[in-house]
C-alpha cells in the first residue's frame, strides 16, 4: 500500500472529527441485541504520519436477527453459519452392506452414531445419560432393568417407538436365521445366547414390554452393567412394523429403512457418498447443531490430503506421521485436539506352555520395557503409558497397581535369575533362551519389545509376521507364544475389559488369551452380579490386580487420539479433563455446529 502524504492541518482536522464522532458514539445509549448479523463497519485508511497507517471505523450499522433454529427446534449460537451451511463432511466411511445396525453392526458401520439412537448415551464425561429412554431403574439386586421410552418418540416415518419395538429388537439381534456375528455381545441378557445358537426360542429372550413405553431387560444373572451396555452404539432399535415381516432384507435399501436417531439417510450413492439430514420426528435430548452429514465412502484413501484440501472437515484419528506433520505446521498446530481413549495395548503371553508359563520370566519381560520411550519416541505421543488393563478414567481404574509392572531393569534381571534364566541363558541346560513374538501389519510395539528384551535381558527374540486373518486364527487357537493385542472399549464398565477378555473357560484360557486364574474368574463372576457399586468396583480392582501381578500380559499403554478440524467447527463441550474432542462413542457429534468462519475455508459442497 502506498501511503499518501497529508499536511498537518488535514491530519488535525480529521483527527478532531474522528474524536468528536467517537465521543458522540460513546454517549449513545447501549442497545443490546441478541444477534448481530452483517455488522457493517465502513473503514477508511488514514495516514498518521509517513510510516504509520491506521484504519478508522467511521460508520456502524447493525441488523438484529432472531437466532437460527434447526429443523428439530434447537437454537444455534450467535456465531452459527446459516442453516444451509450446517453440513459436516466426514471421510472414511465404509459402504454399508445394509442399514440394519441391529442385525449386524460391522456391515453397517457408516450408520452408527447417526441413524439410530440407543436407550442411553454417554456424555462428554463418559457418564450415562438418557437418550431413547428418558429414565431407567434397576430391579431387586439388578436382576432386571426397566427402561422408560421417551414420550412421543418416533421413527423417521412418524410411527411411534414402543416397548414392543425393543422386545422385537433383541429377538432380532439373536435371530438364528439371521446369524448375527455380533450376537454374543448380548450373552449377559437372559435367553439371548440360547436363541442365537438355535437351542432356545425367541419367547425365551429375557426382554419384555411392561407397558407401551416400558421395556424390561433381564440379565442371565444379576447384571448391574446392563445400563452401560445399552450405551453401545450398536444397541439401536429395529422397527417392528417394518422388520418383522422381512427381517433379513427390510433395510437393504434406503427407501425401505427408517431411523430412530437424530438423522435419517436421504441419499445413498453406492460406493461414493451417504447424506444424512435431520429426522423431523426426532424429539430427544440430543438435537444436533449440524443439519446435514455427508459421508464420503473410501478405504485406503489419503484422507489427510482431503482434509488439507478442505474436502472433509476433520481428521478424527491422526497417525504418528500425520501428527508430527501437524505439530510442525504453524497453521495446523493450533487446530490440534486430543483425548484419552480407553484402548489398552499389551503383549500377551501363553501362560500355559513353557517357557512363558514361568511367572518370574513373564514379570521380567513386563518390567524390562521402557514405556516412556515407547510412547514418546517410537509412537510420537500417540500413546500414554498404562500398566494395567483398565485405563485412566475408566470405572475401577486403580492407579496403585501401576507400579507392579513398572520399568526396572535391575528387578527384571533379578527375576530372570529366579526364573532360571540368568542373563538370558537356561540355567539347567545352558542353552540361550529364545522367544518368538508373532505379529501382523507393521508393529512398532513388538519391534521395541524385541530390542528391550535383547538389550536388557539377553534374550534372543524372533519376530514372525503373519497375515491378519492368519493372526486371528492363531489367536483363537492359542498357538502364539507372545503376541501384541489391544482392545477398544465398547461400554464404560470393567466387565467389558476384564470379564469379556480375561475370564477363562478353565481349560484353554480366555477367548483370546491362554491364561487361567481361578481366583480372577471367581472375582469377576462375583463382581458381574454384585449390585452394590462400591463392592463391585472393589471386586474388579482385586481381579485386575491379580491379572497384572500374574503378568498375564505386559501392559504397555493406552491411546491418545489426536484430531484436527477446521476452526469453523464449534460447540463440542470440554470434558472434566478439559479435552475438547470428537469422541465417536459419546454425544459430541450432536453438540457441534458450523460457525460463520466456514466460508473462509470450505470448498466442498453437498
Amino acid at each position: 500500500m502506498v501511503a499518501k502524504k497529508i499536511s498537518r492541518r488535514e491530519f488535525l482536522r480529521f483527527a478532531g472529527l474522528t474524536a468528536g464522532a467517537a465521543v458522540l458514539g460513546a454517549c449513545a445509549p447501549q442497545v443490546v441485541t441478541q444477534v448481530v448479523k452483517e455488522t457493517q463497519i465502513s473503514v477508511q485508511t488514514q495516514v498518521v504520519n509517513q510510516t504509520q497507517v491506521v484504519e478508522v471505523p467511521v460508520n456502524v450499522t447493525a441488523t438484529a436477527l432472531p437466532l437460527l433454529v434447526t429443523l428439530q427446534g434447537r437454537e444455534l449460537p450467535a456465531d452459527a453459519a446459516p442453516l444451509d451451511k450446517q453440513i459436516f463432511f466426514e471421510g472414511g466411511a465404509a459402504e454399508p452392506k445394509h442399514l440394519d445396525v441391529a442385525r449386524d453392526l460391522f456391515s453397517a458401520t457408516a450408520v452408527l452414531g447417526w441413524g439410530g439412537e440407543q436407550l442411553l448415551h454417554l456424555d462428554e464425561n463418559q457418564q450415562i445419560v438418557p437418550a431413547g429412554a428418558e429414565s431407567f431403574v434397576g430391579g431387586p439386586n439388578a436382576e432386571y432393568w426397566d427402561f422408560t421410552i421417551r414420550q412421543d418418540a418416533k421413527w423417521s416415518d412418524g410411527e411411534p417407538i414402543t416397548a414392543d419395538d425393543w422386545v422385537f429388537t433383541f429377538q432380532h439381534y439373536a435371530d438364528p436365521a439371521l446369524a448375527n456375528p455380533f450376537s454374543y455381545f448380548y450373552a449377559d441378557i437372559k435367553g439371548m445366547s440360547d436363541y442365537a445358537a438355535g437351542t432356545g426360542t425367541k419367547e425365551g429372550v429375557g426382554v419384555e414390554a411392561v407397558d407401551e413405553r416400558t421395556v424390561r431387560i433381564h440379565g442371565v444373572n444379576p447384571a448391574p452393567h446392563i445400563p452401560a451396555m445399552m450405551t453401545y452404539q450398536a444397541v439401536v432399535p429395529a422397527p417392528k412394523h417394518l422388520a418383522e415381516a422381512n427381517p433379513e432384507h427390510w433395510a437393504d435399501t434406503m427407501e425401505g429403512a427408517v431411523f430412530s436417531g437424530p438423522f435419517m439417510l436421504t441419499t445413498w450413492d453406492h460406493n461414493k457418498t451417504l447424506i444424512w439430514e435431520q429426522n423431523p420426528y426426532y424429539n430427544g435430548p440430543f438435537k444436533p447443531g449440524i443439519g446435514f452429514v455427508k459421508q464420503i465412502i473410501g478405504d485406503g484413501t489419503n484422507w489427510f490430503a482431503a482434509w488439507q484440501n478442505n474436502e472433509i472437515d476433520m481428521m478424527a484419528n491422526l497417525d504418528p506421521a500425520q501428527l508430527a506433520l501437524v505439530r510442525a505446521d504453524p497453521v495446523y498446530n493450533p487446530l490440534l485436539h486430543w483425548w484419552l481413549n480407553p484402548k489398552p495395548q499389551f503383549l500377551v503371553f501363553d501362560t500355559i506352555k513353557a517357557p512363558t508359563d514361568n511367572h518370574d520370566l513373564r514379570m521380567a519381560l513386563a518390567k524390562s520395557i521402557d514405556r516412556d520411550i515407547l510412547c514418546q519416541q517410537i509412537l510420537k505421543g500417540t500413546e500414554t503409558p498404562n500398566l494395567s488393563m483398565l485405563t485412566p478414567g475408566f470405572p475401577a481404574y486403580n492407579p496403585e497397581i501401576q507400579g507392579i509392572q513398572a520399568y526396572d531393569v535391575a528387578a527384571a534381571q533379578a527375576l530372570m535369575v529366579s526364573a532360571g534364566y540368568p542373563a538370558g541363558v537356561d540355567a539347567a541346560t545352558g542353552a540361550p533362551l529364545e522367544l518368538t513374538i508373532t505379529f501382523r501389519n507393521v508393529d512398532p510395539y513388538v519391534e521395541f519389545a524385541k530390542e528391550q528384551w535383547e538389550t536388557n535381558l539377553g534374550i534372543a527374540v524372533t519376530l514372525v509376521q503373519v497375515e491378519n486373518s492368519v493372526f486371528r486364527q492363531m489367536r483363537v487357537e492359542k498357538v502364539m507364544q507372545i503376541f501384541h493385542n489391544f482392545y477398544e472399549y465398547d461400554f464404560m464398565d470393567p466387565a467389558n475389559l476384564l470379564t469379556a477378555l480375561w475370564k477363562s473357560d478353565g481349560v484353554t484360557g480366555a477367548l483370546q488369551h491362554a491364561w487361567i486364574n481361578p481366583e480372577f474368574d471367581d472375582l469377576v463372576t462375583q463382581a458381574g452380579s454384585e449390585p452394590d457399586i462400591d463392592k463391585r468396583i472393589g471386586l474388579f480392582q482385586q481381579a485386575e490386580e491379580i491379572l497384572v501381578s500374574d503378568a498375564a500380559a505386559a501392559f504397555l499403554s493406552t491411546q491418545n487420539v489426536f484430531q484436527v478440524w477446521w476452526p469453523y467447527i464449534s460447540g463440542i463441550k470440554p470434558n472434566e479433563r478439559g479435552e475438547v474432542a470428537y469422541r465417536y462413542l459419546d454425544v459430541s457429534r450432536f453438540q457441534m455446529y458450523i460457525n460463520n468462519q466456514v466460508d473462509q475455508f470450505r470448498t466442498a459442497t453437498l
Binding site: 449386524d104 453406492h270 489419503n302 490430503a305 488439507q308 492363531m474
Partner: protein, 311 residues
Amino acid sequence: MGRYIFLRLVGLAGVLVAVSMITFALMHNVPGGPFDFRIGDKVMPQDVKDVLNAHYGLDKPLAQQYLIFLGNALRLDFGTSFIYINRKVMDIYAERWPYTAQLGLLTLIFGGSAGLALGIAAAIKKNTWVDYMATVITMFSIVMPSFVLAILLQFVFVVKLGWLPSGGWDTPKQWILPVLCNSILPIAMLQRFVRSSMVDAMGSNYVRTARAKGVGEGAVMLIHVFKNALTPIITVGGPMIAGLLTGSFFVESMFRVPGVGSLSVSAIQQRDYTMIMATTLIWTGIIGVTYVLTDIAYAIADPRITFMESK
C-alpha cells in the same frame, strides 16, 4: 479361423475349471474364515461361528461345496458375498465394473497415446535429446510404483496447489489424477516396445527399398515401419488391456474410484469365498479372451500369420 477360435475357447473352459479347483482348494485351506472380519478385531466364540457356518453351508464337505459352486457358476451365479451380505457377487460386479472400465478406457486413450507418441518420437529421433528424454520418462514410469506416484500427485496437485480434488469419480476434474497415475505403466511399456520395434523395422531391407523407390518419409513410417512394428505391440497390448479392465487396487483405493480393483484384495484379506472365486474366474476369463483376441489381431496385422494346421 473359426475352428481355431472354437478350440481356444474350449481350452479356456478347461483352464477355468482347473483354476476354480485350485483356487477353491487353496482358499479353504489357508487359516481364517469369512466371518472373522465381520466383528472387527473381536473374537467370535466358536458356537457363534458354528451357527454361521451352518447358515452359509460351510459345514458341508468341501467336495460337496465345490460341486454346488460349480453348478451355480455354470449359470453365472457366483452366490452371495460373505462380506457384502445380502448382495449377489455378480450384482456387485455389475454395479462397480463400469467405473473400472471407464478408468481403463481413459487410461488406454491417454496412456496409449502418450506411450505410442513417445515411442515413435524416440524411434524417429533415435540417439537425440528426444530419444533420451523419452527414455528418462519411461525409466521414471517403470521405477515409480503407482501408490508412490499417487501420493506424490496428491501432494502436489491437491495439497500444495489445490487445483484438483483428492478423489472421487463424479466430475472430469476427479478423473485426471487417477488416469495419470494409472497410465504410468502403459506409457512405459508401450514406449519401450514401440521404439525397439520401430528401430528394428527402420533398419530392414524393405524400408530401405521403399525409400529407394522414392516413397515419402511419412508413408514409409506409417505403412512400412509402424505397421510392421505392430506385432510386438499387440503382444504387450493385449495383456495390458486385460489388466486395465480388471482394475487397479492401489489407484482405485487411493483416489476413491468405486470400481472393482479393490474387490479382489479385500476379498482375499477378508476370506470372502464367493467373491474370491468370482474375481479369479472373471479375471481368468478376461485374460483368456484377451489372448484369443490378441492372436486374431496378429493375423490382421501380419498376413503371414495364419491359423491353418500344419500338415
